[in-house]
Subunit: 368 residues, 2 copies
């Protein structure tokens, strides 16, 4: 193996991790691009601190400006005994940069270095809250799709009133084809199992009108193809918008155009709702007293709809796990994102996905 990667510096802990082959590792390794966050590397490293308090059976590699990383490790009291290492990267891709151009011109960008750690097998999964386009394009170029998969899909956990669901695709692939929907069902089901602990997730295909023939061309064809997959996918059929939250499905399939719009609209609605309720409560003293007495209601609501709890979307279907957190993720969101990264790094799941994808492609070929 050609590691240590260029720019790799002495680790906080002097473990010779860079000389180990992936097979030798027992505990998982999560690589984190600490640059590119709207709140700066300090917030990301505060999240790392929290994550290490949750679990300590893994290692973290922080990628970015070494000086800033060391400074923030000191602020967070993360000492040399912590399972944390540093890979220096001299460049950062800003939020407003054009992804492909930035990837070409900034060879030492933190996001590229982080992806490299996954590609070379040094890390099992990576997390970034930087420029989404660069992360998606960079990881697609460097990690390549898994055997049999055409395009990766971006999956996210959505908190609802009654339970949690996974939705995919939420933005990686605006023109998802029927076969890609099937791949996404397989990858998303695995994700559901790993992250939410739902072993046979019920899969619904989001469309308009559930009668046969309604919807658009893709949904009609995808519906047929999903049905043809038999037991491999626990497909419950077409669902409409009002069924997204009704506890009958665990995994919602849609194309990346619909999914991205839906996710962003819902997120902004929840934020507006919170602001509105807070402002209304402040309107008079009686209401403020009422708010005080019934505070638990809103704490419960906030807890339910808390976007920090599943603060990262995952790019599924590549040769390596890539997580994307919001640019504005706070330390709590980063902390939970590390938890998600850990839950998806287990062995075996990837092999089962590969096998199912192969079977799905065979069924598709036979149907042509």
């Amino acid at each position: 193996m050609s590691i240590p990667p260029r720019g790799c510096t002495g680790a906080v802990r002097s473990l010779p991790w860079t000389n180990r082959l992936p097979m030798d590792r027992i505990s998982p390794v999560i690589a984190i691009d600490v640059m590119g966050s709207d709140l700066g590397p300090g917030e990301v490293i505060a999240g790392v601190k929290g994550a290490l308090e949750d679990r300590n059976d893994y290692r973290i590699i922080l990628v970015g400006d070494e000086g800033q990383i060391r400074e923030n490790l000191k602020i967070q009291n993360i000492g040399d005994d912590a399972p944390v290492e540093i890979v220096h990267a001299s460049e950062v891709i800003a939020m407003d940069e054009k992804p492909l151009q930035a990837l070409r011109s900034k060879k030492d960008a933190s996001v590229i270095r982080t992806i490299e750690l996954v590609r070379t097998g040094v890390a099992d999964a990576m997390l970034s809250c930087g420029n989404t386009g660069s992360l998606m394009a960079g990881s697609l170029l460097k990690l390549r799709p898994m055997a049999g998969v055409e395009r990766p899909t971006l999956a996210t956990v959505m908190p609802t009133m009654r339970h949690h669901i996974v939705m995919t695709d939420v933005g990686a692939n605006p023109n998802t084809t029927p076969l890609q929907m099937v791949h996404n069902a397989i990858l998303g089901s695995n994700y559901c199992a790993r992250v939410l602990g739902i072993n046979q997730p019920r899969v619904g295909l989001l469309t308009i009108g559930t009668e046969e023939g309604k919807g658009n061309e893709t949904s009609v064809e995808a519906n047929k193809l999903l049905k043809a997959m038999g037991e491999m996918i626990h497909y419950v059929g077409l669902i409409e918008g009002f069924q997204v939250f009704d506890s009958k499905v665990d995994l919602v399939l849609c194309d990346g155009f619909v999914g991205n719009i839906l996710l962003k609209t819902l997120e902004s609605l929840v934020i507006q709702l919170k602001d509105y309720i807070r402002d209304e409560y402040k309107a008079n003293p009686l209401r403020m007293l009422g708010a005080l007495l019934s505070r638990g209601v809103f704490d419960a609501l906030k807890q339910r709809l808390n976007p920090e709890k599943y603060g990262a979307a995952s790019l599924l279907g590549l040769n390596g796990m890539v997580l994307k957190a919001h640019g504005s993720s706070n330390h709590r969101a980063i902390r939970s994102a590390v938890g998600i990264a850990l839950s998806v790094t287990g062995k075996g799941a990837r092999e089962r996905c590969l096998e199912k994808i192969e079977r799905a492609n065979a069924i598709y070929q036979a149907s042509l």
Copy 2:
């Protein structure tokens, strides 16, 4: 004119309305299909009662089973002096019937009779809360699109925390083309002006990522074409999901697939949210007291997000105005839907739309 239509009976009020040509009419006429509602004709007629209390400068034609209508008029104390007439229809298309089949087999269906009243110019607008597919297919077949328009679009007012917006298309046309997006922008802007009183509504095109080239093929092309329309449309550009509610646009354009999913998901989220908050408040006596003191907060919230206030979607771009209310619309929703119907029946607007559509088509032709 070939009216009275078949099945037309003596009016509640003995005005010889059926002999008047539309040109003779001073006050607008709204035709209402009272059948097909989940709550029965009684609820619809209770809504009519409310609408007549709001305004009395128009007339209403109730279409459906005459016996049931008369009975419910009596229950509501709507007397012979009210500006209400009846057109009998012997059949009803149920919610679960296949639209095209039902239209063919039930020639005397209330929805068809109601559409006929608009087609012949007896009524200025119509309202139904029955089978959506039959209403859309029937009105498209009988009323035909306005000159220059290819497909009608379903528009709806969405209440948000800060203001109200119009969204179109929410389900009439899942594969909206770029030119159809332009038509929808013109029709929707007019609707915004009539219903919300916004004279130069700001139009945004819903997509994913606002950088040039992002989104899907339709959004990229529609963006170019909308820009080419100059002052005719107050186009502010591409918007993402999180901008739907941020007060920067009054009219949100999207294809009917995205719009329908978005609308239904948001509606169900709001319902779930209300249920959740109510249940949480009941969890203990202290919270219940808090709820009592801060009741105004939720009354305000319910008022803001009240779906009854704009309880109908409108099918725009036909030779006649068609409004669709939810199947489960209560009398308050029907009452407000009649108000919307009245606000869109004014003269002049249609001519301005026709003229703009013609100019838009010329610009499009020149761009090819």
